[in-house]
Symmetry: C2
Subunit: 338 residues, 2 copies
């Protein structure tokens, strides 16, 4: 059975909510790191490690990670590195989770840069967006690797066969975009390996189902995610206002409400479990701090499925097949992982 | 009275639709360039120049502009450069309008790069986004100038006093974002001149009214615009589907419909008249090819208002006050425009 190490500190609704999420999960062992006083003892599949020290709010996560060995996130990451657990879930800040994972897990074989990937909930057309903000400046070979890592994740965890992978650009033509995008396009087109590369997509592609994986630098990716969230909130707010603007509209809104509830569930970011940290020797999932118990449960399930279906191994195979591994000596590349 | 030169070729619904738009405008003289046979003679405030040759669909607009002096867009731009008209409106392709304007108008005094700006229709919180795609790679001094140009436009044309200007980034902290954004932030903070610089905004800010002008490189700006459009379309489509999912929901949708019509008008991109080309010696407005008569009329009005309220002059003043003019010798900088 897969074991997932969970840092319960830093979640908006407190460690108890994370513990409730862990209790919901079936078929996975969980080690919970956080204040035992707030989390209780949990269920038989849960081991609680009392780790009350939190660095989730530290403005300099990298420094805090190095200086605070007893912090819950540092202990959780260490448990994965030691082999006591197979993957990480962090309910705290993305920055601290990233810093601790990078520091302790190390990069996977042949990977230039780890990346944050997010399954974006769009009605009928969910897709994986990466990088979501871990790398605001990239080189073409980084984008190429993100493409393979994203495909491996969608195959292994979401069960999508031959996921269609696209580059985000400001036009569909291969020559459109900043130099780094143009170069990555050429490389993915000429050396796709096992990758189902479908070319560039524009921002319009959000919601059309044109691709299963959309690859961008961490700046454009972060902007895309947040613009989607901002635009959706503004629009739903305006629909709500319209539905309050007259007696007739109010009645209409009431009648429509049950049908819209399904849509709300479909758009629920908790369903995807949060952002996934790919490209390290171990898998990490970073749920949003605002999540409730169900979101944390989903995060633990996603992490477990990623281990069961060997996302890391599949990523390596894809990168090798496409000749996209970081250039190291043959001997070093063939060494075992740890 | 202000005169606007209008290229009627290239619009999706044909030159006649552009001519109908010109006929709707009051208080502005219009010179219409396009096939007279399709446009007729129009109203007393309209002069029709028979210019049937169109390069709106040419895949290489820059080359087409140089090789086709009788093309309608080239003639329209020339009329502005000669002083027969004061500003340009192009119903054809953005690429051809950009190429012809750059080629003939030249950059305004002290401006590094012209930029495309778009008033984004968000419920209750419209804002100006620039650059919308003219410059996919930028230096910090370009972003700084975009900030001043955007402020000058919002003041002069939209009548907003001390518009709040923000940089788009992946975090609100001054150190967040690619190097070019961090450097532009420092420069705008330390030397704002007359600018009301409010710092960084994230993609979430779309729809919150946090800024009147949002500045980005042309890649992130283009992605933002199109993601907004894609996300909005997906969401409205899903609401429509929900409203068809049961008899009860259908009735609710019918009752809500009149209230949503107001929202649709508020979101209508025709209202803003299209993208505005800033930073050249003359002002240009590029309505979307899909616009109807009302959208073209709005474009002509926006161009006229920009001339009446001297966007170009105000831009220069702002850039000068902030020390953000392109470095040229004092003597050259003090030469008159033409």
């Amino acid at each position: 059975m897969v074991t997932v190490a969970v840092d319960a500190n830093g979640a908006d609704r407190g460690p108890a909510e994370v513990a409730r999420g862990a209790a919901l999960v079936e078929g996975v062992r969980v080690i919970l790191f956080g204040p035992r006083a707030e989390m209780g003892e949990g269920a038989p599949h849960i081991e609680v490690v009392d780790a009350p020290v939190s660095i989730a709010k530290d403005p300099d996560p990298a420094r805090a990670v190095r200086r605070t060995p007893d912090a819950s996130i540092v202990q959780a990451v260490q448990a994965v590195a030691d082999g006591r657990a197979d993957a990480l879930v962090s309910g705290g800040s993305t920055g601290a989770a990233l810093a601790a994972s990078l520091f302790t897990f190390k990069r996977a074989r042949g990977v230039h840069r780890p990346t944050l990937a997010v399954v974006v909930p769009v009605p009928k057309a969910p897709f994986l967006l990466l990088d979501a903000g871990a790398n605001v400046e990239v080189r073409p070979e980084h984008l190429v690797q993100f493409a393979h890592m994203g495909a491996a994740f969608m195959e292994a965890v979401m069960g999508i066969e031959r996921p269609r992978v696209a580059l985000l650009s400001n036009g569909e033509e291969p020559g459109k975009g900043p130099e780094v995008v143009v170069a990555a396009h050429a490389e993915l087109r000429d050396h796709p390996g096992d990758l189902n590369f479908v070319g560039n997509v524009e921002g319009f592609a959000i919601g059309t189902g044109a691709a299963d994986v959309i690859v961008a630098d961490g700046f454009a990716g972060n902007v895309t995610l947040k613009v989607m969230e901002g635009a959706s909130a503004a629009l739903l707010g305006a629909v709500r206002d319209a539905a309050m603007s007259s007696t007739r509209a109010k009645l209409g809104g009431l009648l429509l409400k049950p049908a819209l509830r399904g849509l709300r569930d479909e758009l629920d970011p908790e369903e995807a479990g949060g952002a996934v940290l790919l490209g390290l020797r171990k898998l990490g999932v970073v749920p949003h701090g605002s999540f409730g118990a169900r979101g944390f449960a989903r995060a633990i399930e996603v992490a477990a499925r990623g281990v069961e279906h060997d996302v890391t191994g599949r990523t390596y195979e894809r990168l090798a097949a496409a000749g996209a591994l970081r250039k190291v000596s043959e001997a070093a590349a063939s060494l075992p992982d740890q």
